[in-house]
């Protein structure tokens, strides 16, 4: 089955690229070298089709079933999709709202912090290399550790947050951060946003450092200060990287799972629920393979939608 798909795909590409009109110059011909194109794309395509495309199609099919993953299944059409939006006890609409909230915070708070740090470090401060190394550390540390750490930080009795509040006399502000429906969501967001600041920062930093130094020197000679250089030169040139960061930030937020699972698992009472936690519960906890797959397909769709949207939004700058 896999072989057939591969062959069809390859054949299609072959046909498209086999025509080479006469009046083209050497460069064009080199860039249209069909064998090379095929060769370059082949490994990626095989992996991609086998592990990404086919499973997505399979999941889409599963989403139309009433199935426990193991015994026989019944075809139910779009019932699962209707169910996730109508059945209150699943808590899906609220979870989607939470995911979008996280995505928004990620883009408007996390990315600017990463950008600010990247700009400051790339400009050249003392200890630049040390700082870049340190700022990346939370990304390296496994989510288990980050999760357990924040569980201790938020602990109502001995956690740093409450202890600090009590120390300055703000006893009434001390709360069960992860256990209170009102605070659980934001309590969970903070570690997520914090952990990946270094990730985006590294991308931006490398991007800035790759920009030609001459441009910056020219601007400084012209009399521009740091802020103006950043605003009119560095950031515009950084647009491709910023686009990538935005895509990662948004899709990452919509798919977020690991930390939330460790900290609250979506609780208490769905307060910090996100689509991925519901999906895992349905798939593996409650053996509702159809419903779980429907959620997965939904996540794929909205992530894809936003990824394309961002690409288009940035495209006018990038295509020259």
């Amino acid at each position: 089955m896999l072989m057939i798909i591969c062959n069809v795909f390859i054949g299609w590409k072959w046909r498209l690229t086999s025509k080479l009109s006469r009046g083209e110059d050497l460069m064009d011909r080199t860039m249209k070298n069909k064998t090379a194109i095929l060769l370059f794309l082949l490994p990626a395509c095989i992996l991609f089709i086998g592990i990404i495309v086919v499973p997505i199609i399979m999941s889409a099919y599963y989403s139309l079933l009433d199935w426990d993953g193991i015994t026989a299944s019944t075809f139910v059409g779009f019932k699962n999709y209707a169910e996730i939006f109508t059945k209150k006890s699943i808590g899906f609409p609220g979870a989607v709202k939470n995911a979008f909230l996280l995505a928004g915070l990620s883009v408007f708070i996390q990315l600017p912090i990463s950008l600010g740090l990247a700009l400051t470090l790339a400009k050249g401060v003392k200890g630049e290399k040390l700082y870049t190394a340190i700022f990346f550390i939370p990304v390296i540390i496994s989510t288990t550790v980050i999760g357990q750490l924040w569980l201790k930080i938020y602990n109502p009795n001995y956690g740093i947050v409450n202890m600090a509040l009590r120390a300055v006399g703000l006893d009434s502000w001390a709360a069960t951060w992860l256990g209170d429906e009102k605070t659980a969501l934001f309590a969970v967001f903070i570690p997520i946003l914090w952990q990946y600041v270094g990730y985006h920062m590294l991308l931006m930093y490398t991007g800035i450092k790759s920009q030609p130094e001459e441009l910056r020197e020219a601007a400084m000679i012209d009399g521009a200060n740091d802020w103006q250089i950043a605003r009119y030169l560095t950031i515009p040139l950084l647009k491709p990287v910023l686009q990538v960061c935005a895509i990662f930030a948004i899709t990452g937020s919509l798919k977020a799972f690991d930390l939330i699972y460790v900290l609250t698992n979506g609780g208490p009472a769905h307060a910090s629920e996100v689509p991925a936690t519901i999906m895992i519960k349905q798939l593996f906890g409650r053996n509702n393979y159809g419903v779980g797959s429907a959620i997965a397909v939904f996540i794929v769709f909205i992530c894809f939608f936003f990824a394309i949207l961002i690409k288009k939004a940035f495209r006018t700058e990038v295509d020259k």
């Binding site: 990626a44 550790v145 991925a276 393979y289």
Partner: protein, 287 residues
């Protein structure tokens, strides 16, 4: 360049010094916040449960339980698991980097119909919550009788592809077309251009990419648990998770195992980030 005309001149040195001090304070504070998890992991790896859970959460251990390290390393085969993780992750990085850079080059620089569509299709890879497709992927791999390391290397590479292509594309866009044209006129064929011009200029990107792929593959858990049953091939994340008891957990040894598992990551990061620095310092793009 026209935007830079008419911009006011430099402020005096006074402002920069003040700005510099504020900057340093912010950077140092942020460093403390960032390094705290590492410190915490190191300290709780030397404590026992009672200290971790109440009496002494943040401070240095009162009782230095070095035996946590021996417990962690003796249980199962931690060293073997580290090796397995290294093999799986190393192969994933190698395959992904090769496949992704080649594909990115074909997608962004070469000319053919349908390339924008395929480019968009590759974005599908980052939209999938990977735990959702565990069963289909497992079914595919089991039908193809793929076991041992490849059962992890293949999915990991596939999932890293989209991210790798995105990152490579954003860096490749910064490479001027003139360089390729010059090489072309010099008589290079397409493979030569790719190998001699593009790849060397991508070094900072490749190093960054390697770090990201490394992190994704090294810390992955669900696939590692489900796809690998023979403890000969088990990876370190599964090994650490096995230190959790069914109903009660001794967190000290887990911390110890985590410290041991994090060291290679820190080393790899140190290695690659210095490579990034070197290639950036050397001047990524020569005029």
């Amino acid at each position: 360049m026209s935007r830079l005309h008419g911009i006011k001149g430099f402020r005096g040195t006074g402002k920069i010094t003040f700005g510099g001090a504020v900057t340093t304070v912010i950077l140092v504070l942020w460093s403390v916040v960032q390094i705290f998890p590492l410190y915490w992991m190191l300290t709780f790896s030397l404590k026992e449960n009672s200290e971790i859970f109440g009496s002494n959460v943040i401070g240095l251990p009162h009782n230095w339980i070095w035996s946590n390290y021996t417990t962690a390393l003796q249980s199962g085969n931690m060293f073997r698991y580290l090796l397995n993780s290294a093999i799986v992750t190393g192969a994933t990085i190698a395959i992904t980097v090769v496949a992704a850079t080649a594909a990115t080059y074909a997608l962004t620089r070469m000319v053919w119909r349908g390339r924008k569509t395929v480019n968009s299709l590759f974005m599908l890879g980052i939209t999938i919550p990977i735990n959702a497709v565990i069963l289909p992927v497992f079914l595919i791999l089991s039908k193809l009788h793929i076991t041992n390391y490849w059962a992890l290397i293949i999915p990991y590479s596939a999932f890293a592809l989209s991210m790798a292509i995105l990152i490579s594309a954003s860096f490749m866009q910064g490479i001027p077309k003139e360089l390729e044209e010059a090489a072309c006129l010099d008589g290079c064929n397409i493979y030569g251009i790719f190998w001699r011009i593009i790849l060397p200029l991508m070094r900072p990107a490749l190093a960054t990419l390697s770090i990201f792929i490394f992190l994704q593959a090294w810390n992955e858990l669900m696939y590692a648990v489900i796809f690998i049953s023979d403890s000969k091939y088990r990876t370190i994340t599964v090994g650490i998770q096995n230190l959790s008891g069914s109903f009660t957990t001794d967190w000290g040894p887990i911390g110890a195992a985590l410290v041991v598992a994090t060291f290679p990551v820190l080393l790899i990061y140190a290695f690659f980030s210095s490579k990034i620095q070197e290639s950036l310092v050397a001047g990524a793009i020569k005029g």
